[in-house]
């Protein structure tokens, strides 16, 4: 290649990138078609290779963990016997519970959203941005702002959709804020992602009123206040709740239910929250 021209190429690229950055900063959806078209080529490749990678890594860890599994098996067998006994006792209690529920007419609306399963096909290798990509996109009815669950808890929200993929920002990302509330008392809080807290497997819990009833171990669910997150999704459990130095608010940590280090299969809720309520988006 001719190195004489490289300075001019560099100047050209600089101007082009500055322009593109300015455009995408002002209106981030302008370049979505570009990303979407690239997805047509990249997603099948990523999907195939990640499947291969998973198989290899699975086999390696299988060998590493085989002897651990033997020990665990013995412990688990004992546990099964214990649980079988417990189960029969609980079954009789369940019947009682069902009867009582009928009396109370409990609100069963929570956690009954339609979901679609998706596989994680690519992940951020450098941990700067806690985002990942799944193999379902516009063609499967996924749209922006859909909530994503894993292991029974909220893990993130869809930030960008292509024809056959979607990018999900997890709630441990620095840019993530979720309105939550205590399942027990209904008092609200803000769940913030923070990479330093996540080192210890936690998220930050802030903006709790000083008079709020918020105790360590309380289940934190998404609040009805949130504009993008559906109400009633379990996020995690509160811990280290303490009153702040100004005595105006309380804050603490949140232990998430989901395990963010080893995401493979996730569930996407196919309803989104809008100003008018919870709707199922119609994709063309």
């Amino acid at each position: 290649m001719n190195n004489r021209w490289s300075k001019y190429i560099l100047i050209f690229i600089t101007i082009l990138c500055m322009f593109l950055m300015a455009v995408s900063y002002v209106q981030s959806s302008v370049l979505d078609p570009v990303r979407s078209y690239a997805g047509y080529f990249l997603t099948p490749v990523q999907s195939g290779i990640s499947r291969f990678g998973l198989r290899v890594s699975g086999e390696i860890s299988e060998r590493r963990h085989l002897h651990e599994v033997y020990d665990e098996n013995a412990v688990l067998r004992a546990r099964v016997e214990e649980l079988t006994e417990e189960n029969s006792r609980l079954r009789s209690e369940t019947l009682e519970l069902e009867r009582l529920r009928g009396l109370y007419v409990l609100d069963q609306e929570y956690m009954q959203y339609p979901k679609v399963a998706a596989r994680v096909i690519a992940r951020d290798s450098q941990k700067w941005f806690r985002v990942f990509r799944i193999d379902k996109g516009m063609a499967d009815g996924i749209t922006r702002d859909m909530n994503v669950l894993c292991g029974g808890g909220l893990i993130g929200i869809v930030t960008e959709v292509g024809a056959n993929y979607a990018t999900v920002r997890s709630i441990i990302d620095d840019e993530s804020n979720v309105y939550g509330m205590s399942q027990y008392s209904g008092d609200t809080c803000l769940v913030k992602g923070n990479i330093t807290s996540y080192e210890d497997g936690m998220l930050d819990l802030t903006n709790i009123d000083k008079n709020a009833v918020f105790n360590d171990g309380d289940a934190v669910i998404t609040s009805t206040l949130s504009t993008k997150f559906l109400p009633g999704l379990l996020i995690g459990y509160a811990s280290d709740i303490k009153i702040n130095s100004q005595h105006l608010t309380k804050s603490g940590k949140l232990i998430p239910v989901a395990n963010f280090d080893n995401l493979q299969e996730v569930l996407v809720i196919t309803q989104i929250k809008t100003e008018t309520g919870i709707v199922t988006p119609v994709t063309e």
Partner: protein, 178 residues
């Protein structure tokens, strides 16, 4: 060289970067035994910049940045800018290129990694208003620099071998075309 050979080279760089990127995002992160992943596309960018000069460095950097920009939802063009400049920067040292020395590539790898991570830190400071510098240094930057340095020793060798083969075949074909 004939223009067809240029086109062939550019296509090879493109495919190589795509392959490296897919490996980097789809395979390595699933191996949880590694605490971080080597930045393969950065290795390709600075290696080719170093071997062939600034123009090639910029082209590889452009492709590498393009993949990153298509993958992340940060402002489009940010990574193209960073990687292109790194390719150019590495190309400035190409006059000292020798096939039997590994000292300079390793030094370049270190420099490139540090500049790259500093650029991202700067961007995040501008976008988020704050960065956890010590945490980032200990948990993101240092592991990545370490793994990338380790992998550079292997990948640079492979790229160098491929470079020799490519040059020989292009020389032969160039004679026929001329």
């Amino acid at each position: 060289m004939h223009w067809k050979l240029y086109a062939k080279r550019i296509l090879i760089y493109f495919l190589l970067v795509v392959l490296a990127f897919v490996l980097q995002t789809c395979v390595i992160p699933f191996f949880t035994i590694f605490s971080s992943a080597p930045n393969l596309i950065l290795i390709i960018t600075f290696s080719y910049g170093f071997i062939y000069g600034t123009a090639t460095g910029i082209i590889c950097g452009f492709f590498a940045g393009l993949m990153m920009d298509l993958f992340y939802t940060e402002p489009f063009g940010l990574f193209i800018l960073i990687y292109s400049y790194l390719g150019y920067f590495s190309g400035l040292f190409s006059h000292t290129f020798r096939t039997d020395s590994y000292v300079l590539p390793v030094m370049l790898c270190l420099l490139n990694e540090l500049i790259y991570n500093a650029a991202i830190l700067a961007y995040r400071y501008m976008a988020l208003g704050s960065v956890h510098f010590q945490y980032s240094l200990r948990n993101i930057i240092l592991p990545e620099v370490f793994f990338t340095l380790l992998v550079t020793l292997v990948v640079y060798r492979i790229l160098l071998g491929a470079h020799r083969q490519l040059d020989i075949s292009d020389d032969l074909r160039g004679q026929n075309v001329a």
